[in-house]
Symmetry: C2
Subunit: 183 residues, 2 copies
């Protein structure tokens, strides 16, 4: 951040009175520009024993597999974001179930939240950001080609919970970036 | 938002290719400036049968009572934010317990997340943003002077869960702004 989005003057990094962190403060109008973590929301949608997975048509992780998910928008609820992203990325209509995983990623200032969901029908097709949208059984999950660690974490927790017959909320922090070849 | 925070040129509202929402896009460098919901995190910290409450020394809701809470910062986890805010607003050290309430407030593009917690000692005092920080029993909660609906929701859920002896995650959406005199 170099300029004030309110008045266009340059900003400087300084700690405002009563604050504990340096902020971008406008040299002219004094506006304090806070920067905060972003929330990514998605759905693990099932049909029978299968899960709806998307192959990414965009970077990062082009060609890798993920659950439908994306940045939460202003003026929507977290659940609404999960429903919207599933429609956008997989063309799929779902009925949302409880929040399933809540993953902190402090090194990139993100929270990833995945809800469980049920597909309402099989009339779905990949959206613009997906190369494919298909149903996979546990045996078909391409573990070495999963796009994000929060997705691998969610899939593993889902299969474990399904085996014991009880779904909990799973929370974790994936704080240490791992090398490209270890995901 | 009037100016590009990257290059200082004016921005215009337009829907980028492949996007579904209008964004502030820089007329010169093309940077797309996304705006996303913010996460507020706090703690319901107990000592025996009492709860740590803070009387606000700042607007909004100056003089009303709240749980220690505030905006999540970049490069911290949600739980770390709860611990930090409790230290800043009540000077109190806590051991965090599981996430307790998750409240969507889409009309102001916020999520409020409150964790349960245990106070580690009784050596606490109000921080700069609090007039008082005290322990209250259920009978002492000033229901008509609670600062935010998400706090009332959290306190009610806590007392109900404590009576039945089982704490769950409670999620809700408080989407409709209510009049000043009904909180
Ligand atoms: Zn300015
Ligand atoms: Zn620009």
């Amino acid at each position: 951040m170099n300029y004030c989005s309110h008045c266009g003057a340059p900003v400087s990094l300084k700690t405002p009175p009563g604050d504990n962190f340096p902020r971008h403060v406008c040299d002219r109008c004094g506006t304090i520009h806070y920067q905060n973590p972003k929330v990514v929301v998605g759905a693990l949608a099932t049909w029978g024993d299968k899960i709806l997975m998307c192959k990414r048509a965009i970077e990062p992780r082009y060609g890798c597999w993920t659950l439908p998910a994306g940045f939460m928008e202003n003026n929507e609820t977290c659940g609404e974001a999960a429903v919207r992203e599933t429609l956008e990325e997989a063309g799929a209509r779902i009925a949302l179930e409880p929040m399933f995983t809540f993953v902190d990623l402090p090194h990139i200032s993100q929270i990833h939240i995945i809800y469980r969901a049920r597909l309402l029908d099989l009339d779905f097709q990949p959206g613009e950001e997906s190369l494919e949208a298909i149903l996979m059984s546990e045996e078909e999950i391409p573990w070495s080609e999963i796009a994000f660690r929060s997705v691998s974490y969610t899939l593993k927790a889902f299969f474990e919970d399904r085996r014991r017959g009880l779904f909990d909320l799973h929370t974790t922090s994936l704080s240490i970036p791992v090398p490209e070849n270890y995901r």
